[in-house]
Amino acid sequence: MRTLKFLLQKEFKQIFRNKALLPLIFIAPVVQLLILPLASDYEIKNINISIVDHDHSVYSQQLVSKITASGYFQLADYSPSFQEAFNQIEKDKSDLILEIPQGFERNLVRENEEKLFVAMNAINGVKASLGGAYLTQIISTHNNDIRMKWSQQSKFKPSPKIEVTTSNWFNPLLNYQFFMVPGILVVLVTMIGAYMCALNIVKEKEVGTIEQINVTPIKKYQFVLGKLLPFWVIGLFIFSFGLFVVAHLVYGIVPVGNLFLLYGYLAIYLVAILGLGLLISTFSDTQQQAMSITFFFIMIFILMSGLFTSIDSMPEWAYIIAKCSPVTYFIEVVRMVILKGSGFADIKNHFLIMMGFATLLNGLAILNYRKTS
């Protein structure tokens, strides 16, 4: 224990003396948490629309003003023909065309039916489908308004219709940042844990100090613990700093769930991710090698973790890969506990899986790390 204490003392001294590393530990969480959630917003706004109005009636005018007043659409141009509107799409000035046929109002009133034509540029699939959906919604509201007016006037029995009312749970204002911030916290902890742990051990190899350490009575487990514990503590610190300072003050996120549960999971997750760093360090002789290998794993882990895209909509093989990454589970848990207030029973399986990761990664690392070559 005494030896371990001195190893830790030495380790912290070195970390706090590292002029490049120290600012990174403190500044990286703030900067990443401030920039990433604001930038990675999936809400589609400012869809450019071209309207071809052959009718020029009151109803068509009302429809156009409803569309432009919705906030989602910007009127790019008001063309006399479809061909001209299509030119706008080709020039990338416009994303959507709404063609209102001649006699729109007349047919709607007389025949009780009329068709509109919507064409969209589907190069950006998300934009096209969302834009289409928004537009359909506006048109159907407009349609309902007209029907209400006519049915009242003619005193017909109101036609039955289904009205859908939605209620948003856990994130009532559909704030995209609520979804992103907890995920980015996980990424931060992962990066700091895996990179710093791997690089720190490899540095001892590269500089040659491990040679001197190996010729001392220091035991394997003492050396490894002396390396893992400082980064375990730093990981906890960064997570807390991000959650209570940045997420709370800037985004107003207050964890709904139990904090002990969240920190319990974080503690195990850090052991697993430090195990990954340790494993990488046993394979590399230089910091450059360690950096490259870590980058490879972290890249895949983060892009496939469900941070940006839902893993449920991935193809089967990708889903399996995503399920093999510890990051995926922690992102799920963080979102569940912080936003949804899930309890231990909900994340019991996540706990077991993460313990499995921690045992596997650290076990492999220890098998591969030999004091005598």
């Binding site: 040659g208 040679e211 010729v215």
Partner: protein, 308 residues
């Protein structure tokens, strides 16, 4: 009693392609200052790494204080002090911190063994708050020696401690080693500098992983079979060519201001040779008989090894 023994140690790299240590056996007695002399790549560091339990030999056995380097590596690590050829202390920790750190991991304190390192540490004291990485080469080596000594080892293994160190510091360093020897510590030191060989009690001359000769430096010098002459003249380059083309001259190597020459003394004498050289147009010819140095012996043995 032998403190360090090596028996037929063999170590190869790249699956047997490179033979780094080839059947090496020697013993170092208690309290002896033993030198491993050899050029770069002659296997010195491999021998050190085997003795410090950092490298497993392919075959053969080695022991320190009677403990086997493979079976009892834990005991050995407590009892030896090792100074690797490359500076291996924490460069971002200060002199004092490095020393304290190595003392504590050996479960001792600087105070407890201060008498052993006092003479060296006094020179380091003014820089004790300076980072180890910012010290001069000689100071770094002194600090490394302090750290290797802090747990009062019975055997001290120093791999090229004076490489890259200035002449004055080198001299001081050897003085320190002599002092440590008097405290009863067994010291194995390696060096590529032949002039340092005379400072050891016994030396082993190493070439391509094999030992060419082990003895006291003065005995090794005595084993030199021929009479050695030192020669100089106005044109040293041409002198070497002329001497080497002479069939009666056995060897001629350039040593600073002089050429060291051996000759077939039955056929040729100093006076004859001088006369011949003056006839060949050399001026200021000086020829004198000298006692061979370890370096002369090393070159002679190396030539022999190559012929075999």
């Amino acid at each position: 009693m032998a403190d360090v023994t090596l028996n037929n140690i063999v170590k190869t790299y790249n699956k047997g392609e490179v033979k780094a240590v080839n059947n090496v056996s020697f013993e170092i007695n208690k309290g002896e200052l033993f030198g491993l002399i050899g050029a770069d790549g002659s296997g010195k560091t491999s021998i050190f790494r085997i003795l410090t339990t950092l490298l497993l030999p392919d075959s053969g056995t080695a022991s320190i204080n009677g403990f086997d380097v493979i079976k009892d590596y834990k005991t050995i690590r407590k009892n030896i002090g090792y100074m690797p050829g490359k500076f291996s202390l924490y460069q971002d920790l200060s002199v004092q911190e490095n020393l304290d750190f190595f003392a504590t991991i050996f479960n001792t304190t600087v105070k407890e063994n201060y008498d052993l390192i006092k003479d060296i540490y006094i020179q380091l004291e003014p820089f004790k708050t300076r980072k180890a990485g910012k010290l001069s080469g000689g100071m770094k080596q002194k600090l490394a020696l302090c750290c290797a000594l802090i747990h009062r080892p019975t055997v001290l293994l120093l791999d090229e401690p004076t490489t890259g160190v200035d002449v004055v510091s080198r001299k001081e360093f050897w003085e320190i080693l002599k002092g440590l020897k008097q405290q009863g510590i067994t010291i194995l030191v390696s060096t590529p500098y032949m002039d340092e060989a005379n400072l050891c009690e016994r030396i082993a001359l190493l070439q391509n992983g094999s030992i060419m000769s082990i003895d006291r430096p003065n005995n090794i010098v005595k084993q030199f079979p021929d009479t050695l002459f030192a020669m100089r003249a106005n044109d040293m380059g041409r002198l070497q060519n002329v001497l080497r083309s002479n069939k009666l001259i056995k060897s001629c190597f350039s040593f600073g201001d002089f050429h060291h020459v051996t000759m077939d003394s039955g056929e040729l004498t100093m006076d004859n040779l001088e006369k011949q050289l003056i006839e060949s147009g050399f001026q200021n010819v000086i020829i004198k008989e000298i006692t061979p140095t370890v370096e002369d012996c090393f070159i002679y043995l190396m030539g022999n090894a190559m012929e075999n």
